[in-house]
C-alpha cells in the first residue's frame, strides 16, 4: 500500500482456505473456503452474529486466523509484501473517521502520512473525492458534525484516495435511510465500474446485496451455506436461507 496511487488499479484476487477462528473457546469461523475474482463485487450475507465482520477483518489482515489462510494474489494477506505491493482499503461500519482530525484531514490522511503528494495536491484530491461522494465543501468539518450517512460517505472518500485494488465494506448501509442507502449502493457499483476494483461487501441488506453483487456468499454460524450468483443464491433450497431472504413483518400474523 506504500506505492503511489498514480496509475489506474486493477482488482486483486482473493482466496480463503480453511479459515478457522475461535474467541474464548467459541468457534466463530468453522473452516471457510471461497475465492473472490479480480474486479467482482462479492457480497457476504448472513444473520447477525454469523461471523461476517470477523471474516472481513481476516480478509484485510486485521485479525489472524487460528487455522487456514487468506491469500491476496497468491500471497498471504499479512505478509509485508502484500502491504507494500497492493493497495487495499476498508470502509468500517461506523466510518471509523479519526475524531481528532477534520474531514479533509481524514480523507487525505493516507497521502499525507505516506508523503505521496504535496499538501496542495492533497487538498485538490480531497476536494475531488469529497465531491464524488456528495460531500463537497465539508473539508473543515469535524466528524462529530456529520450524520451517520455522511460519515460513511466520508469514509468511502478516504478509501477512494488510496485508489484501492481491493475495497472492503462493513455493513455500508446499516443505520441509513433508504435514500442514503441507494446513494451508497450506487457509489459501490460506480467505483467498481470506474476503476475495476475488487469489492467485498458485508451486509444483511437484501436490496443492496442483490442490487450490486456479482456473486453472493451466505454465511450462517461460521459456515458458508450457499455461494453463487444472486439468481443461484435466490434459488437455493436451504430453508434458513429462504427464510432469511423472504423474511417480512406480517401484522396479521403478529396480532394472532
Amino acid at each position: 500500500m506504500h506505492s503511489s496511487p498514480s496509475h489506474p488499479p486493477s482488482g486483486l484476487a482473493l482466496r480463503v482456505r480453511g479459515l478457522r477462528k475461535s474467541f474464548l473457546g467459541v468457534e466463530v469461523l468453522k473452516g471457510l473456503d471461497f475465492e473472490v475474482r479480480p474486479g467482482e463485487i462479492f457480497v457476504i450475507m448472513g444473520p447477525s452474529g454469523s461471523g461476517k465482520t470477523v471474516l472481513l477483518k481476516h480478509l484485510i489482515g486485521l485479525t489472524r486466523p487460528d487455522q487456514g489462510e487468506v491469500l491476496v494474489n497468491d500471497r498471504p494477506v499479512d505478509s509485508p509484501e502484500v502491504m507494500e505491493k497492493f493497495r487495499m482499503a476498508m470502509v468500517f461500519q461506523s466510518g471509523a473517521l479519526l475524531n481528532s482530525l477534520t474531514v479533509g484531514e481524514n480523507v487525505g490522511l493516507y497521502l499525507a502520512e505516506h508523503r505521496l503528494k504535496t499538501p496542495a495536491e492533497i487538498a485538490l484530491i480531497v476536494a475531488d473525492k469529497l465531491e464524488v461522494v456528495g460531500l463537497k465543501g465539508s473539508e473543515e468539518k469535524m466528524p462529530s458534525e456529520l450524520s451517520g450517512g455522511m460519515k460513511k460517505r466520508a469514509a468511502i472518500a478516504r478509501a477512494l484516495v488510496i485508489e484501492p485494488q481491493l475495497i472492503l465494506y462493513d455493513e455500508p448501509t446499516s443505520e441509513l435511510d433508504p435514500l442514503s442507502s441507494v446513494v451508497i449502493a450506487e457509489e459501490i457499483f460506480a467505483l467498481n465500474q470506474r476503476i475495476g476494483v475488487t469489492s467485498i461487501v458485508v451486509s444483511h441488506d437484501r436490496d443492496l446485496a442483490f442490487g450490486v453483487a456479482d456473486r453472493i456468499a451466505f454465511i450462517n454460524q461460521g459456515r458458508i451455506l450457499a455461494i453463487g450468483t444472486p439468481a443461484e443464491v435466490r434459488a437455493h433450497p436451504d430453508p434458513l436461507l429462504q427464510e432469511f431472504l423472504n423474511a417480512s413483518f406480517k401484522p396479521d400474523q403478529a396480532k394472532e
Partner: protein, 247 residues
C-alpha cells in the same frame, strides 16, 4: 502479569526503533508537548510551592531547636531536586497525562480508528505512541525544573516567614547553594526522564489493549495510572541506589 510486562517492553522497543520517524511526526510531538505543558504547568508549580513549604515547616522547627536552622536550605534543596520533584511530578503526570493518553488511544481502539490506521498501512506505533513518548520525555524533565525552583521558593518563604525557623531568604539560598550542585539536579532530571518513558509506554500500551466499550476505556485508564505510579515508585528506589554510586 509477565505477559503485560513483556508487551510493554516490546512496545517500548518498537517505539525506540521508530525513533528515525520522530522528525516527521514533529507537529504531533509539538501538539502533545503543548497539551502536557499547558495542562500541568500551573498545577505542578502550585503543588511544588506547597511541598517545599511543608518540607520547611516540618523540618525547620526541629532543626532550629538543635541550633541547625541554617541547614534548612540544604535539606529543602536536596529533597526537592533529588527526590520530591521528580517523584511528585511523575505521579501528577501519570494521573493527568497518562490517563488522557490511555483514554484517547483506548477510545480510538474501541471505535476502530486504530484499525482504520492499520488498513491504511499507517503504523499506530509511529502515529500514536512515538509523538506522545517523545513529548512526555521532553516535557516531564522541564516540568521538574519548574517544580524544583518553585519548591525551593516555597521552602524559602516559609523559612523566612515562620517565627520558629527564622532563616532569611538570602541565608536559605546561601546554604542551598553550598549543599546542592548541578549533579544533584541532573540526577532528578534523569529520574524524571525515566519516569516519563514509563508513563508514556505504560499508558499507550493500556490504550492499545483496550477492548469493549466505555467500561473497557475506564478499565484501561485506571490500569494505566495505577501501573505507572507503582512502576515509578519501584523504579525510583533502584534508580536512587544506582545514582548513589556516582555521588
Amino acid at each position: 502479569m509477565f505477559n503485560s510486562i513483556g508487551e510493554v517492553v516490546l512496545l517500548f522497543w518498537r517505539t525506540l526503533c521508530a525513533w528515525p520517524h520522530a522528525w516527521r511526526q514533529r507537529q504531533k510531538v509539538y501538539d502533545q508537548f503543548f497539551e502536557i505543558g499547558n495542562a500541568s504547568l500551573l498545577m505542578a508549580c502550585i503543588l511544588s510551592l506547597f511541598i517545599g513549604g511543608v518540607l520547611a515547616l516540618q523540618s525547620g522547627p526541629v532543626l532550629a531547636e538543635r541550633g541547625l536552622a541554617n541547614l534548612i536550605g540544604g535539606i529543602v534543596g536536596l529533597s526537592m531536586c533529588k527526590e520530591l520533584a521528580p517523584v511528585m511530578m511523575g505521579i501528577l503526570i501519570a494521573g493527568r497525562i497518562g490517563s488522557a493518553m490511555a483514554a484517547e488511544i483506548g477510545s480510538m481502539c474501541v471505535y476502530q480508528e486504530v484499525d482504520a490506521l492499520r488498513t491504511m498501512n499507517i503504523n499506530p506505533v509511529h502515529y500514536l505512541v512515538l509523538p506522545r513518548l517523545v513529548a512526555i520525555a521532553i516535557a516531564l524533565p522541564l516540568l521538574v525544573v519548574f517544580s524544583i525552583m518553585t519548591g525551593w521558593f516555597g521552602g524559602a518563604i516559609v523559612s523566612a516567614s515562620n517565627a520558629h525557623i527564622g532563616v532569611s531568604l538570602s541565608a536559605f539560598f546561601s546554604t542551598l547553594k553550598t549543599f546542592v550542585d548541578l549533579q544533584d539536579i541532573g540526577n532528578g532530571l534523569f529520574k524524571s526522564f525515566c519516569f516519563a518513558l514509563v508513563i508514556g509506554t505504560v499508558s499507550c500500551h493500556q490504550g492499545l489493549q483496550t477492548i469493549g466499550g466505555p467500561r473497557g476505556i475506564g478499565r484501561s485508564v485506571t490500569k494505566a495510572v495505577v501501573n505507572s505510579i507503582v512502576l515509578i515508585l519501584i523504579l525510583d528506589y533502584f534508580l536512587t541506589r544506582w545514582l548513589l554510586i556516582f555521588d
